[in-house]
Amino acid sequence: MRLGTRKLIDRGMTALGIGSIVLLAAALLVFLAPIVVRGLGAFVFRGTIEYRQLTLEKFGRGDVDAVEAEQAEAVEARRPVYEMLSAYKKELADGHESLDEAKKQFRADRKEMRRHEGLADQQRADAQAELDRREAELDRRGEQLAKHEASLVELEELIRELLGPEPGQSVPVLWRDQYGQTRWDRAQVKLDQILNVETWVDQDDPDQPRVRVLVPRADAFEGTTLAPLFPYIENNAEAMLLPRLTFYWRFLTDTSFDAHFFGGIWPEILGTIYLTLGAMLFAVPMGVVAAIYLVEYAREGFLVRVLRTFINTLAGVPSIVFGLFGLAFFISTMHVSPSKSVLAGSMTLAMLILPMVIRASEEAIRAVPATYKEAALSLGASKWWAVLTVILPAALPGVLTGIVISMGRAAGETAPIIFTAAVSVGKPLWPWEALSQPTPALPWNIYNLATEHEAVDEIRHVQYGMVLTLVLLVLLLNAAAIVMRARISKKLRA
């Protein structure tokens, strides 16, 4: 082959390699960017007056006077909306009245006509045609009225979703019905739904998917007293909702309300902490002891080979299988708790991370210079004392690094806790309750809220906030591990 070609191949390979590294980094970036940006939206957003009102009334936070002043301002801005609505309702009512009147007249006329039996055929036919025309006209008016009424009901529902229940009406049960949109971004979506009706239209080619078309809702109310409502709402949305930049850091420490529509994710965070710490409680002592045995006591041979094979096998068991096993063993057979519980989940997770802890500790203990042990023994220390006072302390940073990384793994695992520990809604538990009760947990609730929630789209910010929290939690743990490792290598060099 020509030298030039060979060099080209060489460069091509370099480029491919670098390309794959770039792709790797890009993948991380593409993943992290939306999570971070939209996740922050759970903490920092433009909150409306509805938000401040809810915070004040339900959580007792905020300045009463300021909120009341704002509320008055908003009510003032909203008044025309309700006035126009009631004017329109009156118009509809009038329409009904005149329709009823016309119907009465029509029935009278029809009776009248039937009584005139002596009419000529020609006249009779004309009169019948006239009656038919009038009947059709009445039907049309009736239909139109019904359509307007239906549209009005839909519109009123949307307006209620945007602004909350009309002042003076009875208070609904659900929090989400008691308040309008608390977030300006959601309010804008609702606003869009008020201003435009979304329809799907078939294309000429039946194989092609249907196309989404937006029709101004105002079209349906053209020529009625309600027509000016739409420009009014469009132009005065801000005045009606008064969005302001809001920092909701208590997202982390509030419990959730009304199926995660409001409040924070404290029960999930706490549940994750319980599960993680519980798993470490079981896995760390066992893992570290096993590592000590493997490094310091076991003689290389058949037994150690078998042990290692089994540890590797355990590391390779799919996480969902751990979940099933936890259900079949800890709950159904051992009855550690009547049903799902943090305890059962922790034990299951502990089995999952045990191999990680063993491997990391083994590596750390192996890395301790043999001379430390020799020095300790030469001073008359017994072996276990040397392990306890010299080897373990020297290996501790390394062991901790491994433990912290395993903690991150335990915190993020979902499959093992689905059948053993996790529920979608729950209150924060006390530690002793964790022995017998299930808990919400970040990983499970991310799945649950993103797929099974009744209003998946409306609580996207909560989902993103949870993902961000979980990812940050895990990354912080890993960052701590990286820092620790850097310090160890510095210490060893010193």
């Binding site: 003689r299 042990k373 030469s378 210490k491």
Partner: protein
């Protein structure tokens, strides 16, 4: 041949003037009788027999790989750590067989301290390093520990240099200081014998000479057995010298005699640098 010969060519293989060794060896401290050590099939020390006198400095010399360390580490049974290593014959410490059936290895190691080739202080404070052994052997209380630490550091000629740095990490000391700290750590448990396996080979000449001086000061109080493959050093520090070659003990006797008037041809060749 070693760093020292390179660094200090001025020092020749001559016997320095120093206080003469005690007239007659008071008693035998360690006695080897047909003593062998095996690594698996490999016989690293081959049926050696000799007597190491108490209170004196005995040097073990010989080319690299001749079994010096192996023999030394047999005395406090450090070889137990190596899988596949076993001993045969007798190695007596005060008439007790070191490899006997009911030997308390920890008690043995306490009586036979060891200083290693590379300084290996624990990654703990200077104080904790020296106090490690005494703590094991039941010394409690800060003041009593402090007494032991201070005395050991003084004996190791390190006290003045570290008395203000006791709580600091021992890994921050210089190499020579670290090695003296290891000596202090070894003396702190009051051993009778100090084993030193090339204690200066990782140090610079200045630190080396300090350690050598220190070994001179330890003479009389401790039985010191030091491995070195530096003849000048052996000549400078020791009262008796054993010459090992390929696992065999070739020669053993008072250092003066061995260096001025070797009985064995191989000893002479080695000392004069013809091989090794």
């Amino acid at each position: 041949m070693t760093e020292n010969t390179l660094h200090i060519p001025a020092r020749k293989t001559t016997l320095p003037d120093r206080k003469p060794a005690p007239a007659a060896p008071s008693r035998v401290h360690v006695r080897a009788e047909e003593f062998s050590v095996f690594y698996g099939q490999n016989e690293a020390v081959r049926k050696v027999s000799f007597e190491i006198p108490a209170g004196q400095v005995t040097a073990i010399i010989g080319p690299s790989g001749c079994g010096k360390s192996t023999f030394l580490r047999a005395i406090n049974r450090m070889n137990d750590l190596i899988p596949g290593c076993r001993a045969a014959g007798k190695l007596l410490l005060d008439e007790n067989d070191v490899f006997g059936p009911r030997i308390d290895v920890t008690a043995l190691r306490r009586r036979v301290g060891m200083v290693f080739q590379k300084p290996n202080p624990f990654p703990k404070s200077v104080f904790d390093n020296v106090a490690y052994g005494p703590r094991i052997h039941g010394v409690r209380g800060r003041t009593r520990l402090m007494d032991v630490v201070q005395r050991s550091l003084r004996k190791a000629a390190l006290w003045d240099e570290v008395k203000d740095r006791l709580p600091q990490n021992a890994l921050g000391l210089s190499g020579g200081q670290q090695q003296r700290l290891c000596i202090a750590r070894a003396i702190a448990v009051d051993p009778e014998i100090l084993l030193m396996d090339e204690p200066t080979s990782a140090l610079d000449p200045q630190a080396t000479s300090r350690i050598e001086d220190l070994i001179g000061e330890l003479r009389g109080n401790y039985t010191v057995i030091a491995v070195t493959h530096n003849m000048q050093q052996a000549a400078r520090i020791s009262d008796f010298t054993a010459f090992f070659y390929e696992g065999d003990l070739i020669d053993f006797g008072p250092t003066t005699q061995l260096f001025t008037n070797p009985r064995e041809k191989r000893t002479e060749d080695y000392i004069t640098g013809r091989f090794g």
